[in-house]
């Protein structure tokens, strides 16, 4: 399972980053936490994108994960980081499995838009319900790890990075299995896949559910590392757009790409916000267009090109 280069890089790189986090300033640790949390959702979108499916509504699962953490915290007083993470990921996964029965019949723009619609239903419910925090959302208490309340954010960072490493390895392995390989083939020719004897609907359903679990986990980790959830930052359609943006920015080439893309996005946003607070949408939007036009393979295509020319 760990024989290929990607796995080795993920493993060694991940460990190096965990070590680096111990000496890095807080804000860098924060950016890494935000970036890696979000990257989990991108990992799921990457699998869908390779299959030719783009969801413009995965903030639904991201938000479900985040709000599960909030509800667990506020209603049940659950603080354990793993219970929260599993809760968020499982609930999102369950929702994804159920919604998947509808989604697996749709492709292209319809797939993208049905996802948006479903995410907006959740958004409407939360915004209008005072007991769910309406527009304000909730503050979330710091998580505990194995019953211990950590002094700093570092332990949470280690947990997030570890979850990121494990997820990247699992998805990397998944993409090597027979069913995991059914991405480009489905995009290229569904009829042939059916005649080869594999159900396209089942394959898509599985990928969709996986992406929901990952997005839910991402939302849960994001909620914990930020300490706050609210509908506009977690569920609104612009958040879904952001997730797709990072997917395109990252490129579909490798499971490492989402992590690099998410970090680049965090840095881009931080500096756009710092240098031109009035114009950060313009900067993000402009970058988006530039990537779509001039770098369709995303950042990963640059990295692999650079890699080819140096090795």
């Amino acid at each position: 399972m760990l024989r290929d280069n990607t796995s080795k890089v993920v493993l060694i790189g991940g460990i190096l980053i965990i070590l680096f986090g111990a000496v890095a300033p807080n804000w860098i640790v924060n950016q890494l936490m935000f970036g890696f949390s979000r990257a989990l959702a991108i990992l799921g979108l990457l699998v869908l994108w390779r299959t030719g499916l783009v969801s413009f509504g995965h903030a639904f699962y991201f938000g479900l994960g985040a709000y599960t953490v909030a509800i667990l915290d506020i209603q049940l007083g659950v603080t354990d980081v793993f219970v929260r993470l599993l809760g968020g990921a499982c609930l999102a996964g369950l929702a994804g499995f159920l919604v998947g029965f509808i989604m697996r019949n749709y492709r292209d723009i319809f797939f993208a838009m049905l996802n948006t619609a479903i995410s907006m239903v959740l958004y409407g419910i939360i915004v209008k319900t005072e007991s769910l925090g309406s527009t304000d959302g909730f503050a979330i208490s710091l998580p505990t790890i194995f019953g211990v309340a950590p002094e700093t954010k570092y332990p949470l960072f280690v947990v997030i990075t570890t979850v990121a490493i494990v997820s990247a390895l699992l998805i990397n392995f998944y993409l090597k299995t027979t069913i995991g390989r059914l991405t480009t083939p489905i995009r290229d020719n569904e009829i042939r896949v059916e005649y080869l004897g594999f159900s396209v609907a089942h394959a898509i359903h599985l990928k969709y559910t996986m992406s929901a679990i990952l997005a839910g986990g991402a939302g849960a980790l994001m909620a914990m590392s930020l300490g706050q959830v609210d509908p506009d930052s977690m569920i609104n359609w612009t958040v879904s757009g952001e997730l797709v943006f990072i997917t395109i920015l990252s490129g579909p080439g490798n499971v490492i790409a989402p992590f690099i893309g998410s970090l680049v996005f965090e840095v881009l946003r931080t500096y756009a916000f710092e240098l031109a607070p009035h114009l950060w949408q313009l900067i993000v939007g402009g970058t988006f267009l530039t990537i779509i036009f001039f770098l369709p393979g995303g950042i990963w295509s640059l990295i692999s090109k650079l890699g080819r020319s140096t090795s």
Partner: protein
């Protein structure tokens, strides 16, 4: 050969699209090891017949039994699992992938059913099989080329190769030589038929080219306006008046 039980029994097949009758009174028995040619003019119902047998279209009425198992109501996937494969008039392959990758996916789907689909795909066993198929279908030299850049002929070979890796008992070929140049077509068919004979596959194929029909098939089904007007040996069929008038005569 005649004493063996038919492997495919088609009874009273009818297919209508609104007022249009695409197929009617289709009754055919096919025995193991036969190579059957399906001929007819454009719109005579040949592809419709193939589509019904392979589960792409559901007949309006009638039955299709494969080794005693009823196929009507089954989709392409179930028909494939039952042991019937097909190739396509316009090759249906994965056009952004290489020839080797195309075959590998086909092999993996055929061999890794159920939870085996969650195992790593590139096993040494499958790689050997893949190379074997590549050799038998003369696709070695195109192995690492993306389908996009290949000629129609190579794509059709790949299309057929992908259909046989599941080791079907019946293979339906929809116009295997369409889009292939006159000089290439016999070579092409030699490769295909030889490979199929080795595997003892029963073959039904739709064909316009009477030279191909004469040379490779053991029996001919001639379609005209949704009905079978002749079911006989190729020699007889080509001499048959009705076939000459409605099939060969109108052929372009």
């Amino acid at each position: 050969m005649t004493e063996s039980k038919p492997i495919l029994e088609v009874r009273d097949l009818l297919k209508t699209f609104g007022a249009v009758v695409a197929a009617k009174d289709i009754n055919v028995d096919v025995r193991k090891g036969e190579i059957v040619g399906i001929i007819g003019a454009n719109g005579a119902g040949k592809t419709c017949f193939v589509n019904m047998v392979t589960g792409y279209l559901k007949p309006t009425s009638g039955s299709i039994a494969f080794d005693g198992v009823q196929l009507v109501g089954k989709g392409p996937r179930e028909v494939t699992h039952a042991g019937i494969s097909r190739s396509f008039q316009v090759s249906q392959v994965f056009h952004t992938m290489t020839v080797a990758e195309n075959l590998m996916i086909a092999l993996a789907i055929a061999k890794n059913r159920g939870f085996a689909a969650l195992r790593e795909m590139d096993s040494p066993d499958l790689l050997t099989r893949r190379d074997d198929v590549l050799t038998r279908y003369h696709l070695d030299s195109y192995k690492d080329m993306t389908v996009n850049v290949l000629s129609q002929g190579v794509r059709k070979l790949l299309d057929i190769a992908m259909a046989v890796v599941s080791e079907p008992r019946i293979l339906l070929l929809d116009e295997p030589t369409s889009g292939i140049s006159v000089e290439e077509k016999f070579g092409f068919m030699d490769v295909v038929i030889e490979a199929l004979r080795e595997d003892e596959v029963t073959v039904l194929f739709v064909e316009h080219d009477m030279e191909i029909v004469e040379r490779y098939v053991s029996r001919v089904l001639a379609f005209y306006q949704g009905e079978i007007i002749a079911d006989m040996s190729p020699k007889k069929a080509l001499a048959d008046a009705k076939v000459q008038e409605f099939v060969i005569g109108t052929r372009h």
